[in-house]
């Protein structure tokens, strides 16, 4: 028996050694193939876009280096060789599989699956019934009856699962896929590559391979950790970091989104920030007399100590958007944070029905901004809206019963440059209030009750308890709420876009925010390069403001530990 076990272990070791040799050969082949691919790309006429060529060559160079290193290290049985090989084969298998699915039309045909899905729903219901029948067998005491019921349930589940797959078009799909594969040697090669990568990753992942490398438990756990992290990590790199870097590249071009892009360096950024200040002879002097109107347009004019000045900007709308955004932040942050703090204190009490109020205040946060904005659009209507209706009613009431002589203000909420941004800020603050309240509530509930009890024993009043215990201990929560609210406010878009209807920039551009402006530039005027530059300027602004908040938080002696 012992001999058999030793023989088995020996066989596995031999097998592992064989796989390692195959892995070394595979990585050498990969390195050579990648080198050939890189050489081809250098002289090939495609891809046309510079960024795509650079990216492809960079990936191939990384493959050459990585695969070469993996071959050498695997040959020397270094753990780093296994790690590198696993990473390369895992990524290779994923990439080739995704590419294969793309080329056979899987992703474009997801709609087709959705269209066919309804046909399979009855079978899906039957599948659930089968599983229920199978599970109900466990409750039976009679072994024969239990086995029979489980068998029936299992058979029903398998049958309905297969029927479901046929109903949604599996057979047609198989035919289509096989036909495409047979027709295209390139697809077959891709399939072979996907399988090879997959098999290599599997072989190196198995325990015999780990033993061959003398992998420790800690090293195994690390690999498993990265495996579990990989979906998120890859998602971040592909769908966030990648586009982020791409937009940085685009911001240095005059891209129009249709493949026409010339490298123009910092020109977009220069145009964004280019402003000039010129003195005026009189307050109403024509701008054409003092500014080079081929480059600048008048942004604003002002007077200091009896002297008049005009500020010209190459991109006036950027500065207007920046000013509006900062004003919006100054309104929304206090309006959604300070009331939230007091509301959270109220909601922290243990009176009957409090859960209902907590849910009610949170409701606007989970409602769609679009729906909310459309409702507020009606509320704000100056002629038939409810807000003005109630104001008029209140004014009439006061005049009639209190003998006052108030004038109905008839506020033009969204059609006056003085009130449009305020209207947007009120709506946005109302929506953010609930979420901030819940955050404060969580913070309040983490403060030990014993502190309040001790304070009461010491004779502290409610205001003292609030200012001396609640506020200091709530500082990390407050910091988090402030930072997230500020970032959200700096990125205001949907609120303005929907609420302002046909004219999202508002009267006199009074609701033109930074994100709205970059949206207009990028998606309405085909100026993607400039829009990307605007996005990076906005990022730098948000980053700077957040940094300041972090510094202030640290200087205050409290740290963010949410």
């Amino acid at each position: 028996m012992a001999t058999t076990a030793v023989d088995g272990a020996s066989d596995r070791q031999q097998g592992a050694v064989g796989w390692l040799r195959a892995a070394v050969a595979w990585h050498l082949f990969l390195a050579v193939a990648a080198a050939a691919g890189a050489l081809y790309l250098v002289q090939a006429p495609w891809p046309e876009a510079t960024w795509a060529r650079l990216l492809a060559v960079a990936i191939l160079l990384l493959t050459i280096v990585g695969s070469g290193a993996a071959a050498v290290l695997t040959y020397r049985r270094r753990h780093a060789g296994r790690t590198l090989s696993l990473a390369l084969n895992y990524l290779g298998a994923l990439t080739t599989a995704v590419l294969l699915l793309h080329l056979v039309g899987t992703f474009l045909a997801i709609d087709a699956l959705a269209a066919n899905f309804a046909r399979g729903i009855p079978w899906l219901v039957l599948l659930v019934v089968g599983l229920l029948v199978y599970n109900s067998g466990g409750a039976l005491h009679d072994r024969v009856a239990r086995t029979r019921r489980e068998w029936i349930g299992r058979a029903l589940a398998w049958f309905s699962a297969l029927a479901f797959l046929f109903a949604v078009g599996l057979l047609t799909a198989l035919q289509a896929v096989i036909a495409r594969l047979v027709d295209s040697p390139a697809l077959l090669a891709l399939l072979a590559a996907a399988l090879l990568f997959g098999v290599m990753a599997w072989a190196l992942w198995r325990q015999p391979a780990a033993d061959a490398f003398d992998t420790t438990n800690a090293q195994s756990e690390m690999l498993q950790g990265y495996l579990f992290l990989s979906p998120n990590l890859l998602g971040f790199l592909i769908f966030f970091a990648g586009p982020l870097l791409f937009s940085l590249y685009v911001s240095f071009t005059d891209s129009d989104a249709f493949g026409n892009a010339q490298w123009i360096g910092l020109q977009n950024y220069a145009e964004i920030v280019n402003i000039t200040l010129q003195p005026l002879e009189s307050a109403d002097q024509l701008v054409t007399q003092v500014l080079d109107t081929d480059t600048y347009v008048e942004l604003t004019r002002f007077s200091i100590l009896g002297r008049h000045y005009v500020v010209g900007a190459q991109d006036k709308l950027f500065w207007i958007a920046l000013g509006n955004t900062l004003q919006y932040v100054l309104m929304v942050v206090p309006l959604s944070v300070i009331p939230a703090l007091f509301l959270a204190n109220l909601l922290n009490s243990k009176i009957p029905g409090m859960k209902f109020f907590r849910a009610a205040y949170f409701l606007p946060s989970v409602a769609a901004v679009v729906g909310i904005a459309l409702i507020w659009q009606w509320l704000y209507n100056a002629t038939v809206g409810y807000i003005n209706y109630f104001i008029t009613t209140a004014v009439n009431f006061a005049n009639m019963f209190l003998g006052l002589a108030l004038t109905d203000p008839q506020i033009r909420w969204t059609s006056s440059a003085d009130t449009a941004l305020i209207a947007v800020a009120i709506m946005a603050a109302w929506q953010m209030l609930g979420f901030n309240t819940i955050l404060f509530l969580a913070g309040l509930q983490s403060i030990p009750n014993t502190l309040y009890e001790a304070a009461i024993v010491d004779g502290a009043g409610s205001w003292s308890r609030f200012t001396k215990i609640t506020l200091p201990l709530l500082a990390p929560t407050t910091f988090f709420v402030l930072v997230t609210t500020l970032i959200k406010a700096m990125q205001a878009f949907e609120e303005v876009f929907i609420l302002m209807g046909m004219n999202p920039t508002g009267p006199g551009n009074s609701t033109l925010t930074m994100v709205l402006y970059l949206y207009q530039k990028g998606f309405q005027r085909f100026d993607l390069g400039y829009a990307s530059a605007l996005a990076w300027v906005l990022f730098l602004l948000i980053f700077g403001l957040t940094l300041v908040q972090f510094r202030r938080q640290r200087a205050g002696g409290s740290t963010f530990d949410m």
């Binding site: 045909a109 087709a112 799909a173 701008v287 109107t293 006036k316 002629t383 046909m502 009267p507 309405q524």
Partner: protein, 482 residues
């Protein structure tokens, strides 16, 4: 538990695989045709099951160039799927366009049509379309407003249909000349009549929607009678608006929405305009333009008889609080559905420079990257026949774009409003054609003009201040940067 996980995993894999197979709806990929008769298309797979070559290969090759001949040859003998899109204003229009798509699907041999309604509350029709064009996923045929033609054409997003039109002997003069000027404009030579970017879907003009109950209650003269008597001008307009407005604090004599069309009429009717005659520079600071603007400002600021500028005037009009509401034919369905008072329409009043109006239009164009140009051209023609236009016009939202007595007579029968003739009078009386800027950027120009106009109409700046600055900024949006 392992077994259940296994079943779920298998289902997931199989579903992924099933996604490779296509569905009932035709994809954009060409499908080998064996017979293009509808009955021979497998209802389960969308694939064609017989052989055939029904699509005529007749008379199309002689006068077309080689590329086009190749395109035609590709389309002949193949069933192609064409995606097309237009911007509907409501579900009723979506239903009509879908029904048109279904019937054209039967009529057009060799093409399977997929209609896609565009736009929603949260996504502008044009924004979505432009994004799809950039991504290479835009439909084969789509509608765009007249102001977008130049931008799209100069970015090579539209297919020049003139070779196909010439080959089929298509008569472009069957449509109103205003839109056709721009639809045949060649930006490379600055000449019109040399290319064909598309065909107009429909046209529209402005009228004043009247709340006759309010007008009668105010004892004001009936604008329709004034128009019939040739006395419908800015003075009589102001008189009616003032009398209606006097009915109460929450009643308004007049209302318009805040975009370039409504205020543009007042500028045009005074003899001014947005651009110079050759459309290469701003003309908003001309004396005629300023005269129109002064009058419009006085309606808001001096006489104060209008719904505050910038507020949507349609809700108060539908609520019965506005005497006259300036809007296009597209507002008619909402009036029919929601106005529970006695309403009708009247043509716009004559200005100092005589009658004026806008001729609004949009066109069906073909994606420059379509794989089926010949079939797409067939579809564009089919979508703009008198019969198709009549189906859409029946809904009340559009006026046929063909210069055809028959089409216009049919349009007049679609009531209410009783005075449909007012729309046609707008077409006949010197309308300014909505048009793109071939030597500039219309969106950039509008981004300068509209906020400045709004500032005037809300009283934030004077007309003189407007005149001092508006063209300095607006001229930067022309290519020459005059």
């Amino acid at each position: 538990m392992k077994r259940i996980s296994l079943i779920l995993l298998l289902i997931l894999l199989a579903l992924t695989l099933a996604a490779c197979g296509g569905d009932d709806a035709p994809t954009v990929d060409e499908v080998e045709v064996e017979d293009v008769a509808e009955d021979d298309i497998d209802s389960e797979t969308g694939e064609v099951v017989d052989e055939g070559e029904d699509i005529a290969d007749e008379d199309v090759t002689e006068s077309v160039d080689e590329d086009m001949a190749e395109d035609v040859a590709e389309d002949v003998g193949e069933e192609v799927a064409l995606r097309w899109r237009t911007r509907p204003d409501n579900q009723a229009e979506i239903d009509v366009y879908q029904s048109i798509s279904n019937s054209l699907d039967d009529e057009l041999e060799g093409a399977t049509l997929v209609y896609e309604p565009g736009g929603s509350e949260t996504s502008s029709y044009q924004d979505v379309l432009k994004t799809e064009l950039a991504a290479g996923t835009a439909p084969d045929v789509f509608w765009i407003p007249g102001t977008d033609i130049a931008d799209f054409a100069m970015r090579d997003l539209l297919l020049d249909l003139s070779p196909y039109a010439e080959a089929s002997g298509f008569d472009v003069e069957a449509f109103y000349p205003g839109p056709m000027f721009h639809l045949t404009y060649n930006p490379e030579t600055d000449q019109t009549g040399e290319v064909l970017w598309g065909l107009p879907r429909d046209v529209s003009t402005f009228v004043l929607y009247l709340n006759m109950d309010l007008i009668n209650e105010a004892g004001a003269p009936d604008p329709r009678e004034l128009a019939a008597a040739g006395e419908w001008n800015w003075d009589s307009f102001l008189e009616v608006a003032t009398m209606v407005d006097a009915l109460g604090d929450d009643i308004y004599g007049y209302g318009q929405n805040a975009w370039w069309g409504p205020y543009g009429y007042w500028i045009n009717a005074a003899g001014g305009g947005f651009f110079t005659e050759d459309r290469t520079a701003c003309a908003l600071d001309s004396e005629e333009s300023l005269e129109g603007l002064r009058f419009l400002q006085s309606i808001y600021q001096d006489f104060d008889v209008a719904v505050p500028y910038g507020e949507d005037a349609e809700p108060p009009f539908l609520a019965g609080r506005v005497g006259m509401f300036q809007n296009g034919r597209w507002a008619t369905p909402a009036m029919r559905a929601s106005a529970d008072f006695n309403w009708d329409v009247v043509k716009l009043p004559e200005g100092p420079a005589g009658p004026s109006n806008w001729l609004f239009w949009g066109a069906y164009v073909v994606n420059a990257n379509t794989e089926h140009p010949e079939a797409a051209w067939e579809l564009v023609q089919a979508l703009t026949t008198a019969e198709t236009q009549a189906q859409v016009a029946e809904l009340g939202a559009n006026i046929p774009s063909r210069v055809s007595e028959e089409a216009l007579d049919a349009f007049l029968t679609y009531s209410p409003p009783a005075n449909n003739q007012a729309f046609l009078e707008g077409l006949a009386e010197n309308p300014a054609t909505e048009g793109p800027l071939w030597q500039g950027s219309w969106p950039e120009f509008d981004a300068v003009m509209s906020p400045a106009l709004q500032a005037v109409l809300t009283g934030e700046i004077t007309v003189e201040e407007f005149a001092d600055s508006v063209c300095v900024e607006a001229d930067r949006t022309f290519i020459s940067g005059n």
